[in-house]
Each structure stands twice: as structure tokens, then as C-alpha cells.
């Protein structure tokens, strides 16, 4: 369905708005392909076509929501009536207002949608997945791959409201993701590598495979370490995972509801000078790039930490209204089936000048943390305290030494931010679980614990 056709359906819905109510309709039409390879063959190929519309009704500061994938006129009318009914139940909240229209962010459509994505044949997608798997089976200790997949999607999103919002965009995404397995003396390790872009032509298949292999092989022979307080070097993907926790606390909703460890800290020096945390929905290379957010507000570049000083929080219209400020374009919309939430877009730490190799070479004794497990269960999002499982490699004399597994690292987010020593020059975005971008990061003195020195 073209963006114009989708907008036509939305126009029908918002055209039925009654006096005194705000009606917003959000439509999504998405095609996706995923190919997984195993043993040199296609393991599975999945092709999808999905579309649906979600309707939000605001009346008397109350909001109701209903979604449908049945896009007939009757079904859309029924969904609007149901959303109206649903809007009679909730509590009134001053934040329940419809956004007014604004010019959307100036993002070149060609940077969001790579027209080459339409020319990729199913066979080329299959070949990409198989080539990825082949490339990840190289090396003496490599025993195979757990997952080797190619995926792409084309997503047409549109929004219209009775307050005059009306916009659409098309975005393409493509990725390869491979998890390599390595084995030695009966123990197995695994690690992934990935590459993302707007179409197959932008992906680095060999690079993703090599990344998975070197990361998996590096962990071989790992043992539980002695407990110690050491500098920790975070792998870019691990940094990105931790940024997910940080970003959650930087949403205004978390602050307003007493769930943020950053509440009341605007203007405070939370990290050393030179450390910048940025949310930028207009960053064309970021996985979450879009001209407008989940309620039609233009996306923007928002500096959260500027030279280590907290500047403010991320807002959607509801949180901004409560705080008497303006939305930062962070209304999130994963699908048509849920009302707008509040999430980061492309959220990243601005890369520094030090190449990762140089950063590691400067560490005399430390732990290179390549994987964490249980971050979302092992962390208290309110206090920021965390204790998570970790695997990686010890750094001795500036070089990788013995591998480590069955370890934990413990600390707190405020402590971790305050103790950042060096921000690496690399920046990698994780397209999963929010579009977090991390660099190699050196953090001073964290508690690394293992079973080796402990004596029950």
C-alpha cells in the first residue's frame, strides 16, 4: 500500500472526528524478509506483509485506543467507535492532548529509503545468508554458527490527526547477523557480529563474519576470575546495552513518575568533561532515523549529557505538557497496536579520538568485557545499581590475556558514568532493543567477581 493510499484511510478516520474530541490515526504497512542459513543451505526463508491502523481518541483529557488490521470502511468506523468508548474509562490527565502540526525534520528521503532494496531478488538474499555463514566458519577453533541471517524490511508509516497533522515516510532497513560458535577441549563459546544498512549493498558481510569469529574465539578457555577491583573496557555492544539503561532513566516520564535515577539532576556534572550523550532521530545512519516521531512531532538532535553535564530529558507531547515544555520528538511507536510511548531514537555516546586498539594498549591490568548477561534483571533501574554476569578477556600489559567466564561485574550507573576515563573512536549501533550506539569505553575501578578466590 502506498503512503498516499494509507493516508487516504487515515483521512477517513480523522474526518469523522466530532466536536470536542481529538482523533489521531497511525498507519503502518510493512514488508519484511528474513533468510537463515545453516550447513550451506537455506534453513528458513520468511516473507511478510503486514499492515494496520491504530486510532487514538482524546476527549476531556482522557485517552482511548483501538487498533485493527481489518481496513474495510466498516472495520475502521467500528475501531474509531471502540476507541471513543475506551476514552471514557481512563483518568483525566493534563498530558492527554493532541499535538499541533509542525514542519517535520529535514531528512533526505533517499537517506531513509535505498531504492536498491526493491531490486534485491530472493536468490540474492539467500546467497547473502549463505555467504555470511560460510565466512563465519573460518578458523581452526570455529565449530559452526548458531544463527546466520539476512533480513530486510520496507516500512511505510503515515499519520493524520484532526488537529492537522498529516505526514508519511518510507524507510528501508537491511542487516546481517551471525553468531559464531567456537570450541576447544569440550567447552563452547559463542559471539555475534553484525552489519546494518539501508539495503544489501551497504552491508559488510565479511566484516560481520570476521567480527563474530574473532569475538567467539577470544573467549575460548575462559575460567572464573579472582575477585578484584579493576578498570573495565566495555566492548561497543556492551556499552550500547548499558546505554539502554541510561536512556530509560532519561525519559521525562520516568522522571515524572519517580522512576529515574536522573531525577532532579539537570545541570549536574554526571560524567567527565568530553563525554556527550546524544539522542538524534535525524541521524540518517541510525537505525531509528525518521522525520517525525510516533505522534507526528519532528525528530531532533537532543544533547542529554553535554561535556558530562545533564541538560534535560526526552519528551513526548504528554510528558512535555506536564512539564510545560516542548516535545523532543521522542514519542515511540513500535507498531500500530500500541498508543505512543516515550523512548529514545538513535541514542549514542559521541565517539572520542582514541582508537580501540590504542585504548586497550593503555591498560596495564584490566578486564575487557565483551558480553553481559542479565542486564535487565540484574539492574535496578531506579537506583542504577547493577550486578550482571560477564564474559570477556583480561588485559595484561596492554594486551589481551586469559579469557574469563562465570564472572560478574557490579557497580552503579552513576558511578560508571562518573568513572569514564576514555571514550573510543568507534561507534556501533545495535538495531535491537532500541537503537543504542556504543563505543569502546574505558571505565575505572569496577568490581569484577568470580568464584576463583571465593571460599564458600
Amino acid at each position: 500500500m502506498s503512503a498516499q493510499e494509507l493516508l487516504g484511510l487515515l483521512d477517513r478516520v480523522v474526518g469523522r472526528a466530532r466536536a470536542g474530541e481529538g482523533v489521531e490515526a497511525f498507519g503502518l504497512d510493512q514488508t519484511e524478509t528474513t533468510v537463515k542459513a545453516h550447513g550451506g543451505e537455506v534453513e528458513s526463508l520468511s516473507s511478510a506483509r503486514r499492515r494496520g491502523i491504530g486510532i487514538r481518541v482524546v476527549r476531556d483529557q482522557r485517552v482511548g485506543y483501538c487498533f485493527t488490521v481489518d481496513l474495510t470502511d466498516e472495520a475502521l468506523d467500528a475501531a474509531l467507535d471502540e476507541a471513543r468508548d475506551n476514552a471514557t474509562v481512563g483518568s483525566p490527565d493534563e498530558g492527554n492532548v493532541m499535538p499541533a502540526p509542525q514542519p517535520v525534520a529535514d531528512l533526505d528521503p533517499a537517506q531513509l529509503f535505498d531504492a536498491r532494496v526493491d531490486d534485491v531478488t530472493p536468490q540474492q538474499k539467500v546467497d547473502a545468508a549463505i555467504a555470511l555463514e560460510d565466512a563465519a566458519r573460518v578458523g581452526a577453533d570455529v565449530t559452526g554458527t548458531d544463527t546466520a541471517q539476512y533480513g530486510d524490511s520496507v516500512r511505510t508509516a503515515a499519520i493524520a490527526s484532526s488537529t492537522g497533522v498529516r505526514s508519511s515516510y518510507v524507510r528501508s532497513d537491511a542487516f546481517v547477523l551471525v553468531e559464531a560458535l567456537a570450541g576447544r577441549n569440550g567447552s563452547t563459546t559463542s559471539a555475534y557480529g553484525l552489519s546494518i544498512g539501508r539495503s544489501l549493498a551497504e552491508l559488510d558481510i565479511e566484516g560481520a563474519a570476521a567480527e563474530a569469529v574473532s569475538r567467539a574465539t577470544r573467549l575460548l578457555g575462559g575460567t572464573s576470575p579472582s575477585s578484584a577491583r579493576v578498570p573495565v573496557v566495555f566492548d561497543p555492544f556492551v556499552t550500547a546495552s548499558f546505554l539502554g539503561l541510561v536512556a530509560g532513566g532519561l525519559t521525562a516520564e520516568a522522571v515524572q513518575r519517580g522512576r529515574s535515577l536522573f531525577a532532579g539532576k539537570v545541570g549536574e556534572q554526571l560524567a567527565p568533561e568530553g563525554v556527550d550523550l546524544i539522542d538524534d532521530g535525524t541521524l540518517a545512519d541510525g537505525p531509528a532515523a525518521a522525520p517525525w516521531d510516533g505522534e507526528g512531532t519532528p525528530t531532533q538532535r537532543t544533547g542529554l549529557l553535554d561535556d558530562g553535564v545533564l541538560q534535560g530529558y526526552l519528551h513526548n507531547v504528554a510528558s512535555a505538557t506536564r512539564d510545560h515544555t516542548t516535545s523532543t520528538g521522542n514519542a515511540s511507536r513500535a507498531s500500530y497496536s500500541a498508543p505512543p510511548g516515550l523512548s529514545p531514537t538513535n541514542f549514542y555516546v559521541r565517539p572520542g579520538m582514541t582508537p580501540p586498539s590504542e585504548l586497550i594498549a593503555g591498560v596495564d591490568l584490566g578486564f575487557y568485557c565483551q558480553q553481559v548477561m542479565g542486564l535487565h534483571s540484574g539492574a535496578n533501574p531506579i537506583s542504577g545499581d547493577f550486578s550482571v554476569g560477564a564474559a570477556g578477556v583480561m588485559i595484561r600489559g596492554g594486551e589481551f590475556a586469559e579469557a574469563v567466564r562465570e564472572a560478574t561485574i557490579a557497580g552503579s550507573i552513576p558511578q560508571m558514568l562518573a568513572q569514564i576515563v576514555t571514550v573510543g573512536s568507534d561507534l556501533r549501533f545495535l538495531p535491537f532493543g532500541g537503537a543504542m550506539g556504543g563505543t569502546t569505553l574505558l571505565v575505572d575501578g569496577m568490581t569484577l567477581a568470580g568464584g576463583a578466590s571465593a571460599d564458600g
Binding site: 545453516h38 543451505e41 534453513e43 528458513s44 526463508l45 520468511s46 516473507s47 511478510a48 506483509r49 503486514r50 499492515r51 494496520g52 491504530g54 485517552v63 485506543y65 483501538c66 487498533f67 488490521v69 481489518d70 472495520a75 475501531a79 471502540e82 475506551n86 471514557t88 474509562v89 481512563g90 483518568s91 490527565d93 565449530t143 548458531d146 560458535l181 567447552s187 563452547t188 563459546t189 575477585s227 515524572q256 513518575r257 519517580g258 497496536s337 500500541a338 498508543p339 548477561m373 542479565g374 534483571s377 540484574g378 535496578n380 537506583s383 545499581d385 550486578s387 564474559a391 567466564r405 562465570e406 560478574t408 557490579a410 567477581a449 568470580g450 568464584g451 571465593a454 571460599d455 564458600g456
Partner: protein, 465 residues
């Protein structure tokens, strides 16, 4: 449920089209899902969201390869087009034909005694208000209450080229309460989240007041907690709390896709004594109205009870059609999919450590120094190594057989086989919990159960010096 546009001739055409590229097996999965949820957050009732999602997917298998195409346009034409795409996705040289469809009745049914539609929007809002109020009544330290009521009515139609056809209605209802309490600088969270493959009778078994109170009591209790010590120690898992550990550390490695790929620490170990003789564990989709139960799995195999570990011996893996064929194992009825937009993969249903012979009270009393886990948080496992980590949401230090004080910031780190081997006592008691299990980007409801269990030693990650 059959969409009105699909009659037997349509179904036959879709399956025949799917086989036209030389596939050996074809299947159509059609799902309609009516969902409702409402939450209360910070004293405000918000987000009454209702909706209808539906769609159909066509799967073709040829020589272990799979093609899947799905659409949420449920017309005969759209599904035939999906069948064409799937047929082109895996070519083969088979000449399979579509057998005459015969309707099969589910061996187990889990009907909702009280249809969720008996509760309208205001009734749903009232439920979450009651959770909110009861949680706030517990203690002045309660700062925030978040609660959700949700129900899903899922109607499935599955037909395949072997002639199988079944319809099944699955109703699931769940309450969740998340309470934040704070005092001075300490902030703690308590969670309670009962659910069932049932309707409004869930509210009779778990009155909203109880749900709110339990979550609040946990949060308030943890305000008095001290940082957990780190190191190896004896750990006692309270009934219900250890199910998630068994699920993650032992269950996932028994899923046949992980086994088939060589990514499981339990691969090739059927018949081997891995754990203590005290430990037996099952996966059971037949438990009446349990959160993870169903009549048929998502490719039409009847629900079953499968023994994973029998007195410590590794027994049967959890299979779907593909991996059962690949490994030469029976189909265990564990193929599950999050929705029509997902391929079925081997998943757990309700996974339980079975009760043993030990007096639950005696189990903790026997410990000189250790950790008592009343509630675990989420966890994660690397099935290849069996390594896992779990947060301990509510824990106590055990000293001289007594629970002395609650601890925070603890987590458990170890690997599945070692933990099974170090089980020293299994209680006669038993409780279950409900969760959503994530794997390959798909979340499905999973039940978790266990008696009181003592593990001889396990690495505890803590924050105390």
C-alpha cells in the same frame, strides 16, 4: 474459527499451491487475536487499549528447509499469493499431494469458565484501581504502583497437507503489579504477576487486593535489605522461585533446535546421569488451565507431558516437527509461535521441578551460611555452555539455619549441569509462577514451578565487600 471467505476448497487450493514448488509438506496457520489491556500508573488509569489482530501464514518444508510467507490480509487470494511465495522459497523434487481434510479434536482443552468479555472497560479499570489501592494500604513507604489487567482470546485454525485440521480457542488472562517503595535513599521494587490460560476466574483465585498487597510487601521488605555478599555459597530456592532457573539453565538446552545445532550442553547425553538423583523435571502442556497450556501445539501435535530429567538422568528433548524428524525423535508437541507472524520453534510450556521427599522447613534450617531466594528476577542463559545468570529480586541471608536479613543486589551465576548435580534436597511443597519466555525474538507464555530446593554451592554475585 474460519474466516468466512475460506471454505474447504480454498484451503485445499492454498495447500496445493504451497506444494507446487516440489515441497514435501505444507501448512496454513490462521490466527485471530482479540486483546484488551488497561493499566494504572501513578494513580491514573490509562491506556485502555483494545484491538483485533489477525493473519495467516503458509509454511512449506522441503528436505529440512523451510519457507514461510504470511499476510494479515485474510482473503483467499492473499493467502494463495502467500502460498506462491512460500512455494518459490524452497524448491524441491517432491510430489506430495494434499490429503482430504479431517477435523481433529484437541485431547486437552482449557476452556475459560468465565468469559473475559464479562468485564467491560470500567470493570477492567476497577480491577487495576483495586490493585493500586491495596498496594498503597500496605505501608507509607509505597511510592509508585503500576498495575495491568490484560486478556487475550486467540482463535487458531490450522490445516496441513497431511489432512490435519483443528480449531482451538485459547483464552489467557493476567494481572501484574509493580510496586516501588522508598525510604531515605533506598528504593526497591516488588512484583507480583499471576496469570492463567483461563478467563475471569483468575480474579477469584488471585483477588486484585492480594496481588497488590503481595507486590507491595516485597518492595517494603526489601527496604530493609543489605547488600548481598559475593562468593560461592549454599542456595535455597523457595517454592515457585526456582522454576525460572530450571527453565533457563536446564530447559532451553533441552529444546531440540538448540540440540540439533550442537549448541546445547545436553546434546548427545540422553540416558546420562547429569544431575542428582533427587531431581526430576518435566515440561507439561496438559496441566488444566495453566498459563503455558494448550490443546494442540502450533503445528497440530497434541499437547503432552515430557520428562526432561528423571532422577537426574537426561531423558527426552522438546521437539517440533522439523527437529523431531532431523534427530529421529518423537514429536513432543512443543512447537510454538508467538503469532501468525512467526515460525514455530521448540519451546517450553509449563516447566516444573517435581516435588521430593524433604521437609521444606528443614531444608533452610540445615544451612549454616547461604542465600535463600524467595523470588528470582529475570535470567539469561547461553545454552551452548549452559552458563546462566539470574537476578535475585527477593533474597535472605541464611545464618545458622535462620533467615537473618533480606539482601539486595545478588545474582546467581553458574551452569545448568553443575547446578543439577549439586542439588542436595528437594521439598514436598510446590508452587508455580507465570512468565513470558523470549527466544529468537518470540515471546510466549511459560509456566514455571518448583518445590523448595537446596543447591550445595553456587556462585553468588553480590555488591558487599
Amino acid at each position: 474459527m474460519t474466516p468466512p471467505v475460506l471454505d474447504d476448497a480454498d484451503l485445499h487450493t492454498i495447500l496445493a499451491t504451497a506444494l507446487s514448488g516440489g515441497g514435501q509438506f505444507a501448512e496454513l496457520y490462521v490466527e485471530q487475536r482479540r486483546s484488551r489491556s488497561v493499566s494504572v500508573d501513578d494513580g491514573r488509569v490509562e491506556d485502555l487499549v483494545t484491538g483485533l489482530d489477525r493473519g495467516g501464514g503458509v509454511r512449506v518444508i522441503a528436505d529440512g528447509r523451510t519457507a514461510y510467507a504470511f499476510t494479515n490480509l485474510l482473503t483467499g487470494d492473499a493467502l494463495v499469493e502467500a502460498a506462491r511465495i512460500a512455494a518459490a522459497g524452497v524448491s524441491g523434487s517432491h510430489t506430495a499431494r494434499v490429503a482430504d481434510l479431517r477435523t481433529v479434536e484437541p485431547p486437552y482443552t482449557h476452556p475459560a469458565a468465565k468469559n473475559p468479555s464479562g468485564l467491560d472497560g470500567s470493570g477492567m479499570a476497577d480491577v487495576v484501581r483495586r490493585i493500586d489501592a491495596s498496594a498503597r494500604d500496605v505501608d507509607g513507604a509505597v511510592r509508585q504502583v503500576g498495575a495491568t489487567y490484560g486478556d487475550i482470546t486467540q482463535d487458531v485454525l490450522l490445516v496441513n497437507s497431511e489432512g490435519h485440521r483443528h480449531n482451538e480457542r485459547r483464552v489467557r488472562t493476567r494481572l501484574t503489579a509493580r510496586v516501588v517503595a522508598s525510604r531515605d535513599d533506598v528504593v526497591q521494587t516488588g512484583i507480583e504477576a499471576p496469570g492463567a490460560a483461563a478467563g475471569l476466574e483468575l480474579l477469584d483465585r488471585h483477588p486484585p487486593e492480594d496481588v497488590g498487597r503481595r507486590a507491595a510487601e516485597r518492595a517494603v521488605l526489601m527496604l530493609d535489605s543489605r547488600p548481598a555478599p559475593a562468593g560461592e555459597m549454599t542456595v535455597v530456592l523457595a517454592p515457585g522461585s526456582g522454576g525460572v532457573l530450571f527453565h533457563e539453565a536446564c530447559g532451553h538446552g533441552m529444546e531440540a533446535d538448540i540440540v540439533a545445532k550442537g549448541a546445547s550442553v545436553y546434546r548427545g547425553r540422553q540416558g546420562e546421569q547429569i544431575g542428582s538423583e533427587l531431581i526430576s523435571g518435566v515440561d507439561d502442556a496438559t496441566v488444566a488451565n495453566a498459563w503455558g497450556s494448550y490443546g494442540f501445539d502450533d503445528e497440530g501435535t497434541p499437547a503432552q507431558r515430557t520428562v526432561l530429567f528423571d532422577r537426574g538422568v537426561c531423558t527426552d528433548y522438546l521437539t517440533d516437527r522439523l527437529r523431531a524428524d532431523e534427530l529421529g525423535l518423537p514429536r513432543s508437541g512443543n512447537a510454538r509461535r508467538q503469532s501468525y507472524a512467526h515460525l514455530p520453534i521448540p519451546r517450553m510450556t509449563n516447566t516444573y521441578i517435581l516435588p521430593g521427599d524433604d521437609d521444606p522447613d528443614e531444608i533452610a534450617r540445615s544451612v549454616q551460611r547461604g542465600l535463600f531466594c524467595e523470588q528470582l528476577g529475570g535470567g539469561q542463559v547461553d545454552p551452548a555452555s549452559g552458563d546462566f545468570v539470574f537476578g535475585v529480586a527477593v533474597g535472605w541471608l541464611i545464618e545458622d539455619g535462620q533467615l537473618t536479613y533480606p539482601v539486595r543486589g545478588a545474582n546467581l551465576v553458574g551452569d545448568g549441569p553443575s547446578i543439577l548435580a549439586r542439588i542436595e534436597a528437594v521439598g514436598t511443597d510446590f508452587e508455580v509462577r507465570e512468565g513470558i519466555c523470549g527466544k529468537d525474538g518470540q515471546g510466549v507464555p511459560a509456566g514455571l514451578g518448583n518445590p523448595t530446593v537446596r543447591i550445595g554451592r553456587i556462585t553468588v554475585g553480590g555488591t558487599a565487600a
